[in-house]
């Protein structure tokens, strides 16, 4: 589903990713773990096409198409969803407006019919309920004045409504207390499906107790230095990243 | 950076209110004719550091010859502290005029604290211009006390050229005069320069004070922060004119300007014109301006605890302007300013 080959990325002029390769087949959840500054967030941003994140070499195929050729919003319409570590505040734009605009923009680009307002609202109500988001909150400008936990729940709400094919979760557990973590991971788990892939970026093993990965990759200094099953996460939790720091250099 | 020509001895050069820059301060109305030239007898005292660490420089005839020499002495031999004593005496029959220009350069990395103490007596009219040039990484702190008589007419202008990574901090405290204008032009000529320009004023009777600041961001990543606080009563006038200009390409500029004023009785005047002029896009700029009254509730609270009204007013006044003085890093000067403000707060409320 997502196939990354030898990807190198520079932010402005600084080389962050240095020949990273990774395959995530449909239906699987892969975790990327690594110390601070390893390039975890950079991977998410580069895949989403953030400006100033320059791919200097390598290829990324998404469902057989060249992902890197596409503009940011085209990647989104193709089904790539990045859940931000720090979701942005959008003053003056109610969350509902934002959501519906995004949904219809994606539909339009894919040549699908628009979602009618009543159907849209019905769907939002359902999802909001499971995520314990109050409808009043959705009438307020997106993320403005929201707590860290509320922002993360809004990210999950958006992914549930936009129904992307592939999710990248960037440090989704940061800033969440244990109750919020449960709500958020339940929301993500509900999206696990045979035709959907996920990449879970996290520093700590904690999130992986809730969102069980099929594979775990260790990212150090811009490269994947080890891959394994879920047990690798537990090993990292016990021994830390120190053993890999030498290897990468 | 050049200032428009003003010659205190030539009335035709006096700006009028038609001049937008002088909209709130009409020099030609205050000074109807040219003052008499003061006879200047100038003695440059021997340079030596005073016990409190200051090198003393007398600018009593508003001549600034030897300013650089005194500053160099302060930076090399003393603690980098310079005391400019500006003490102007006038006549009791008609204005005596003083006019002086001075220049001061700080080389790369040099640090200097300048304390400018302007006082005087009787009828005088003074116009001074100082030009400060800051080398790379240099730091200049300027603490100014304007404690002039109610008959004085004073226009004090200065320009500052700030090289890369230099720091300029200015604190101006005023009780006003018949006509008093303090004008500072700063040019962020180098990237990453940091500028602070603060001030506080307490004006009573018919006193007038105008604080005009002009900051130009010509280079990237410059910072400007301004806090000006003031009180007016009787028929006094407090004016703040601030402009921050961000030139094309001066990206990364962070500029903030805040003016807060209290009017204690009807008929006292506050005029504020805080401008932003922006030609670059990657900027964070803001200004705020508030005008209000003294907090009657706080006053009542103080009185209910047994503090007499006049004392309570002085206390609250002092507390209002205190945040400006609190930012002064030099302890000796901070104390000096706090004392000045305490006395000023008391006499501000005295009948």
């Amino acid at each position: 589903m997502l196939s990354i080959k030898n990807l190198s990325v520079a932010v402005d002029t600084k080389q962050i990713l240095k020949g990273l390769s990774l395959d995530v087949p449909a239906g699987e959840v892969h975790a990327i773990m690594g110390p601070n500054g390893a390039g975890k967030s950079t991977l998410g941003y580069a895949l989403a096409g953030r400006p100033n994140y320059n791919v200097t070499s390598g290829t990324v195929e998404f469902n057989g198409e060249n992902l890197l050729d596409k503009d940011v919003h085209e990647r989104a319409a193709a089904g790539l969803y990045l859940s931000f570590q720090y979701p942005l505040e959008i003053p003056g734009v109610p969350a509902l407006t934002f959501l519906r605009t995004a949904l219809n923009a994606q539909h339009k680009l894919r040549g699908e019919p628009e979602v009618a307002a009543p159907e849209f609202l019905k769907r939002v109500r359902e999802v909001a309920k499971t995520l314990k988001i109050d409808m009043d909150m959705l009438k307020r400008p997106l993320n403005v004045g929201f707590s860290g936990g509320e922002k993360k729940r809004m990210e999950v709400l958006q992914m549930a409504l936009l129904e992307p094919k592939f999710l990248i979760l960037d440090e989704t557990d940061s800033g969440l207390d244990i109750d919020a973590l449960k709500v958020v991971s339940d929301g993500v788990n509900a999206l696990r499906a045979p035709d959907r892939g996920m990449l879970v970026i996290t520093h700590y093993q904690r999130l992986l107790d809730h969102i069980k990965p099929d594979r775990v990759h260790v990212l150090v200094a811009g490269k994947i230095v080890r891959s394994g099953g879920p047990e690798l996460a537990l090993e990292l939790e016990a021994h830390g990243y120190d053993q890999y720091l030498g290897e990468a250099a | 950076m050049t200032l428009p020509a003003l010659d205190i001895f030539d009335p035709s050069s006096y700006p009028t209110r038609r001049d937008e820059e002088w909209k709130y301060s009409d020099l030609s109305r205050v000074l109807r004719e040219a003052p008499k030239k003061a006879m200047v007898v100038r003695t440059l005292s021997e340079l030596e550091a005073e016990p409190d660490g200051f090198v003393y420089f007398s600018a009593d005839e508003s001549g600034f010859d030897g300013l650089q020499k005194a500053a160099d002495f302060a930076m090399q031999k003393a603690h980098g502290r310079l005391y400019i004593d500006g003490n102007d005496f006038g006549d009791e029959d008609g204005y005596l005029g003083y006019q002086g220009h001075g220049e001061l350069r700080l080389a790369a990395g040099q640090e200097l604290v300048v304390f400018e103490d302007y006082t005087g007596a009787f009828d005088y009219a003074v116009h001074s211009r100082l030009r400060f040039t800051l080398g790379e990484g240099a730091k200049l702190t300027r603490v100014v006390i304007l404690d002039e008589p109610e008959t004085a007419v004073s226009v004090r202008q200065s320009t500052i050229e700030a090289a890369p990574a230099s720091v300029f901090k200015q604190y101006v405290f005023s009780t006003g005069a018949k006509f008093q204008r303090f004008e500072t032009h700063v040019n962020h000529a180098g990237h990453g320069a940091v500028v602070e320009m603060n001030g506080a004023y307490l004006l009573k009777d018919k006193r007038h004070f105008e604080y005009t600041t002009r900051v130009t961001h010509g280079q990237i990543n410059g910072e400007t922060a301004q806090l000006i606080k003031g009180l007016v009563k009787d028929s006094a006038t407090g004016v703040f004119q601030g402009r921050i200009l961000v030139e094309k390409g001066a990206d990364g500029t962070d500029a903030r300007m805040r003016h807060q004023a209290l009017i204690l009785n009807d008929g006292a005047h506050i005029r504020a014109k805080p401008e932003l002029e922006i030609y670059a896009d990657d900027v964070q700029c803001a200004h705020g301006n508030t005008i209000g009254a003294i907090d009657e509730e706080a006053l009542f609270f103080c009185e209910s605890r047994g503090i007499p009204e006049e004392t309570a007013r002085a206390m609250l006044t002092h507390a209002f302007v205190l945040p400006v003085a609190d930012q002064i890093e030099d302890e000796v000067l901070r104390e000096t300013v706090l004392n000045f403000l305490e006395n000023a707060s008391e006499s501000f409320h005295a009948l």
Binding site: G49, D71, Q106 | D266, H269, L276, I278, Q284, H287, N289
Partner: protein
């Protein structure tokens, strides 16, 4: 929600300036240039009483002694007043009595602009859609005013000002020029001398005007100045909401629009005045476009009166405009809500004056400026409190958004207080359109243009909400359209 959607669709569908067409119609012009004779010609054309002609001639004499103001942050080629037509009107026999007598070309023009001139068109619309009456001004004259009869039943007078001068001279004489005296400024004096039409509204005591009133101004003829004059009087305890819209053809020459609007609110009266200004802005390089030099002022003469200005300024090559409130009556309220969008080579210098004279007067200013392209956008405002205006309060929020590296945004506030019991609060910010927000919105599937439109509409939302519902949607579209091509 629907509005944003519509915005986005509209961007895709529309040309940058959709009202740029020219109507081919037989016109009657006064000779070019300005002189006392031209002033007499206009007055005679309007069958005006002697006092009106005298007022005009006095204004003309005054204008001759005045100088064109140059303090605004705008640069433009000065107008050659001798090369202008000061009067241009579609040819007709008498004033039109009904729609059937109006030139079909004119009807087509208004249909194309989406302005309903047939009362039944509005009535036949969606059930429950609010009615609004229209005064349509084409170049120098009013071509029709709709719903006059229905309004008359409520005692509301809504007609062309030229008609009001003839039919209601006592009202016009009492109020005309009392808010904006002829000597007020250069363009106001010019307007008083040569104004040819505009709207007149009088709402009698205690009446709540039963529908929105609106005027659509259309400049069509070449080399013609439009000088409209609007006078609205809200008598004690009355209420009226008025909207003006403006468009002009796309031409390479600059055209002058110098209007004067006077509002008078007596005790407990309320006037809401909204403007959607979409004059032709000129091309991206600054060729052509309207000079929009306008004096708008409200006198809150009565106690507890209220005037609210809302403006959406997206058009014109050069705008010089400061809708103001004189808060004379005790407890009166003035509001100014503004969106000014400049793109291409447009220049706008706009803002307001809130002059607090009465006790416990309140004012509120929300200004949102968006500059893109090579444009320049200035907020200029005055808030003042007289020594006797105790308890005066003002709140000002003034935000500028910059899109791109070649535009400029300025904030020039004047704040003056002479009273101890005033509370003035002014906050201003200037920021650029956030790249992080853009990326976030695009990651959710919005194209760059859509993301810009969404963020800008969010930025101006507080003001959009102040517009009457029907026009808010229109205004939102305009904001998005006028920023087309500003990024990337």
């Amino acid at each position: 929600m629907a509005a944003v959607k519509e915005t986005i669709d509209t961007i895709a569908e529309l040309e940058t300036y959709e009202h740029g067409f020219v109507t081919d119609i037989e016109m009657e012009f006064a000779p070019k240039g300005l002189s006392a004779d031209i002033v007499r010609f206009i007055s005679a054309k309007k069958n005006e009483p002697e006092w009106m002609l005298e007022l005009r001639l006095a204004a003309y004499e005054r204008w001759l002694t005045m100088e064109e103001p140059d303090w605004a942050k705008v640069n433009y080629k000065k107008v050659d007043y001798q090369d202008l037509y000061f009067y241009a009107a579609p040819k007709k026999k008498d004033g039109p009595k009904s729609l059937d007598e109006i030139d079909p070309e004119l009807l087509k023009t208004y249909a194309k602009l989406g302005i309903p001139l047939r009362e039944q068109e509005v009535l036949a619309g969606v059930v429950g859609a609010p009615k609004y009456a229209v005064d349509a001004v084409f170049d120098s004259v009013s071509v029709i005013t709709t719903f006059k009869e229905e309004l008359k039943k409520h005692g509301v007078i809504f007609c062309a000002i030229s008609e009001a001068i003839r039919e209601h001279p006592e009202l016009v004489r009492q109020y005309l020029g009392t808010v904006v005296p002829v000597s007020d400024n250069y363009f106001a004096a010019l307007n008083a001398a040569v104004f040819s039409d505009g709207s007149f509204v009088y709402v009698p005591p205690g009446v709540r005007c039963p529908m929105e009133l609106s005027t659509y101004f259309r400049i069509n003829a070449e080399n013609t100045g439009q000088f409209e004059r609007t006078l609205i009087i809200a008598d004690k305890g009355s209420h009226v909401s008025y909207l003006e819209g403006c468009t002009a053809p796309q031409r390479d020459e600059n055209q002058l629009h110098a209007a004067v609007v006077e509002l008078i609110a007596l005790d407990d009266a309320e006037i809401k005045y909204s403007t959607v200004q979409n004059w032709y802005p000129g091309d991206a390089e600054g060729k052509g476009g309207i000079y929009n030099f306008v004096t708008k002022r409200a006198d809150c003469r009565g106690a507890r009166s209220k005037v609210s200005w809302t403006q959406v300024e997206t058009g014109s090559a050069v705008t010089w405009k400061y809708p103001s409130c004189i808060l004379r009556g005790d407890d009166s309220v003035g509001e100014f809500y503004s969106i000014a969008v400049t793109n291409g080579a447009q220049q706008a210098d706009t803002g307001t004056k809130m002059i607090h004279l009465g006790k416990n007067t309140k004012s509120r200013i929300i200004s949102k400026g968006v500059s893109a392209g090579k444009s320049s956008n200035t907020y200029r405002g005055l808030v003042s409190a007289h020594a006797k205006a105790s308890g005066a309060r003002n709140f000002t929020q003034c935000d500028s958004l910059l899109i791109g590296k070649t535009c400029a945004a300025h904030t020039v506030p004047y704040i003056e207080s002479d009273t101890a019991r005033a509370q003035f609060e002014h906050e201003a910010t200037t920021t650029r359109l956030s790249e992080d927000q853009l990326f976030y919105a695009m990651q959710r599937g919005l194209s760059q243009e859509e993301a810009v439109a969404l963020l800008v509409n969010g930025f101006v939302r507080d003001v959009l909400q102040k517009l009457p519902m029907e026009f808010a949607v229109e205004a939102q579209k305009l904001v998005a359209i006028s920023l087309e091509g500003s990024v990337g």
